[in-house]
């Protein structure tokens, strides 16, 4: 069993190495007709840029994106500065150098990677999946009898912020930086999943398709790990199945297929304000121009946020979304599960959490207000502030850096719910409902708590569950995503996630159950 595990690790690392090397490998050679197509398609009017590419790129072989990308970027920068100097603003190209490099790279890839997509997919994704499963599956036997198994998490450098965790951290952060800011280096990855993308949407893959496919793959493999680790706990098994289903079907398959059917790309479960660009002008226009389905999506999106989400939170707590449906939550609960103990339980973190998450919610609401104002009045500024630049700031700071780079990249350092706890505006909104008008609570079982602290340790949202449990109080907190792990790791059966009557949900207890005191007597003496 150990041997299978180790072999699996080696295979996984080979797959990972291939995946990591692919972005800088490969040959690119742009032929004239392809470039002419790009010029036509992108409506490029800059003769300087076209001439420069014709001279320096077309017909030449480039070894790897590292040599192609700077050539394109510098040609584009030089052309733009010349046009700006000459005040030829109609010729300025507003596509960034990186996006242009990605566009040209995608169309000009030749050589081994782009000609052997299936083989390269197998050598990267395939080996990664096989290796990871070989590493994970033997745990059915190695972990012994079913039951909660967290032995050694603080002794293993993968889970105690040791060197393996640091490497994972660097890898994840780099991956997100490429994805958001250097898409041209993802071009070779897109070749690997082109066949899958074409079979779904009919289009070749872009770098967001790579991300979506990888997201589903990672979640599926790590869900297998969850099934084994929590196989004694039916709640965890059902919940994991649910997040996996919603990610693969709703976030990945349905939007891709909608594109094939000439419909707008839309994830039906992604609720505003997490889906922060839902009311952006380009999206509204696309929806309004898409006929019946566009209108349906528009109404659905509004109803989802204003009615479905709060009503469901009233009945089931925000867990129905955050740990049963949401994609961000889904990744956190699968890939992120080994890191849940790193969430900070300090009072300081709680204060930071409240300022940050509600700040982001406010930011999202103000931004959307400006967006809608601009949309209906057709003015691009409010009080002299450009709506577009507020949107860009939000997309960069919150959408890319907070949710992506920090939210997932920092899993091994800050735990798996950094985004959900400190940043997600939807979580903040659901939190209000959960705290003030909901049937959900985590019930504390009388006086049974022994203060061992397992619940607090493994709470990914950094809630000091023990502080409530040892006082016999129910846990009613806006940040609780209802993952159920506190209840799973409790050795004495103290915690239970329940939906029950609102009355008595919050129960500051005067005296812990077990100590026989006449309560009336106690009150009268006060």
């Amino acid at each position: 069993m150990k041997a299978i595990k180790n072999l699996g690790l080696v295979i996984f690392l080979i797959g990972l190495a291939v995946f990591t090397a692919v972005p800088v490998l490969g040959t690119f050679s742009l032929d004239q007709s392809t470039f002419d197509d790009i010029v036509k398609e992108k409506n490029i009017k800059s003769d300087v840029f076209i001439q420069s590419i014709n001279e320096n790129v077309v017909g030449k072989d480039f070894n790897g994106m590292l040599s192609l990308s700077p050539t394109i970027s510098s040609a584009l920068d030089a052309a733009n500065s010349q046009h700006k100097k000459n005040k030829e603003y109609n010729k300025v190209i507003y596509t960034s150098g990186h996006d242009m490099a990605a566009l040209i790279g995608k169309k000009s890839g030749t050589g081994f990677i782009s000609q052997n997509k299936g083989l390269m997919w197998f050598l990267s994704f395939g080996l990664g999946i096989i290796g990871a499963l070989m590493f994970i599956l033997p745990n059915v036997i190695l972990l012994g009898k079913k039951g909660i198994k967290n032995d050694g998490v603080y002794h293993d450098s993968a889970t105690n912020r040791g060197w393996i965790a640091l490497l994972v951290f660097i890898f994840l952060v780099s991956f997100y930086l490429i994805l958001y800011f250097r898409p041209e280096f993802a071009v070779n990855w897109t070749f690997l999943v082109d066949p899958i993308s074409e079979s779904l949407s009919g289009n070749p893959a872009g770098h967001w398709f790579v991300y979506g496919f990888m997201y589903c793959t990672v979640m599926t493999v790590m869900a297998v790990r969850m099934y084994i680790k929590y196989r004694h706990n039916v709640y965890q098994v059902v919940r994991t199945t649910s997040v996996l289903f919603f990610q693969i079907v709703f976030a990945f398959l349905i939007p891709e297929m909608m594109v094939r059917l000439q419909m707008p790309y839309y994830d039906f479960k992604n609720a505003f304000p997490l889906d922060y660009d839902f009311f952006f002008q380009w999206n509204l226009k696309e929806l309004l121009n898409s006929g019946g389905i566009g209108l349906f999506i528009l109404v659905w999106g509004v109803v989802l946020t204003l009615v479905i989400v709060p009503v469901m939170v009233y009945f089931f707590g925000k867990r129905w979304y955050c740990s049963w449906v949401c994609g961000c939550g889904g990744l956190a609960e699968t890939l992120g599960d080994p890191y849940r103990q790193h969430s900070s339980k300090s009072l300081f973190s709680w204060k930071v959490e409240r300022w940050l998450i509600h700040g982001v919610l406010l930011f999202a609401v103000v931004m959307t207000g400006m967006t809608l104002y601009s949309f209906f009045t057709e003015s691009s500024t409010i009080f002299g502030i450009k709506t577009q630049s507020v949107q860009n700031t939000y997309s960069l700071l919150i959408g890319a850096i907070f949710a992506g780079v920090i939210g997932t990249g920092f899993y091994p350092i800050f735990g798996n719910r950094v985004w959900c706890r400190f940043g997600c505006p939807l979580a903040a909104y659901l939190g209000f409902v959960q705290r003030f008008k909901s049937r959900f609570r985590i019930t504390t079982n009388g006086g049974q708590c022994i203060s061992c602290g397992n619940c607090s340790t493994y709470c990914e949202q950094g809630i000091d569950v023990r502080a409530y449990a040892q006082k016999g109080e129910n846990i009613v907190r806006s940040s609780c995503v209802g993952c159920g792990v506190c209840s799973a790791v409790c050795p004495r059966g103290v915690l239970k996630l329940e939906n029950g009557p609102e009355e008595g949900r919050i129960n500051p207890t005067e005296v812990l159950l077990g100590n026989d005191v006449d309560l009336m007597d106690l009150v009268n003496k006060k």
């Binding site: 009898k145 019930t443 079982n445 159920g484 008595g504």
Partner: protein, 328 residues
Amino acid sequence: MQGLYSKQDLDKIEANAPNKEVCNRAVIVGGGLIGIELAEMLRSRKIPVTFLVRENSFWNGVLPSGESEMINEHILEHHIDLKLETNLVEIIADENGRAKAITTDKGETIECNVVGLTAGVTPNIDFLKDSGIELGRGVKVNRFLETNIKDIYAIGDCAEQHEAIGNRRPIEAVWYTGRMMGEALSQTICGKPRQYSPGHWFNSAKFLDIEYQTYGWVFSERSKQEHESHFHWRHASEKICITASYHKDSKKFLGINTFGIRMRHEIFDRWLTEERDIDHVMQYLKDANFDPEFYSHYEEEIISKYNSVMQTNLSVQKKSWKRIFSKA
């Protein structure tokens, strides 16, 4: 290894038993809660463990036989070398004075690097001998937790009641009694004198992967009184069982042990206060279930066995939030 009380003791066991290379085998002597927890911790470091238990079944001075047998099986499932009816004769030291083996009264010699003695706790009160404070096995206190000397109190594992409260022992070495005594005593010290008056007995533990809860009194065959009868149900394949005790004449419910099923403290506390009979408890068992959502429920199975054993014709009542949250 003896007297695990402090951080330094933990450091010591970390030094002596960090892994199976340093510690090839550990022997634990004494079959109680601390013994099995120590075994679990050593096993978490993959250290082979031999577990010597004086009785012919694990903790059967406290647990009824069906439960005790189930725990025996579970201990073996965890690859712990359980030796029942076996006593320690001698710990053999090497030239550095460290344990290298032990001998048992079965004539066996077991090589080991660590020996854990977990035969139970006694109050460590020798330092009070000449203080004038009245001592027994522990520090003698009254219901206000006062010793014989004014303004000196004792609480927790060292406090010994002059007279035992209910079925409780005079010295209660249970985690929550210290907390409750502290709660009562702090009121007293703050000028609102309050007696220590524990309510219905409850307790819990975890035997490796099996959670155990108890509410009210369920005594083992060895210590139960003549009027106490038991109803026992065990799952066919899983390590799940319950034992409910009742008065054999009046059918008054006395207590319940549950293994692998979580129960609601408040509900059993209420049933004990209301002096319900065991039929009532069996019918309304769903109200008391505290397992996480989606878990399998066994109330039907339990009641059908109960009906066949007790010649009754009861049926399971649906869970009711109204009953659960009604304050008696």
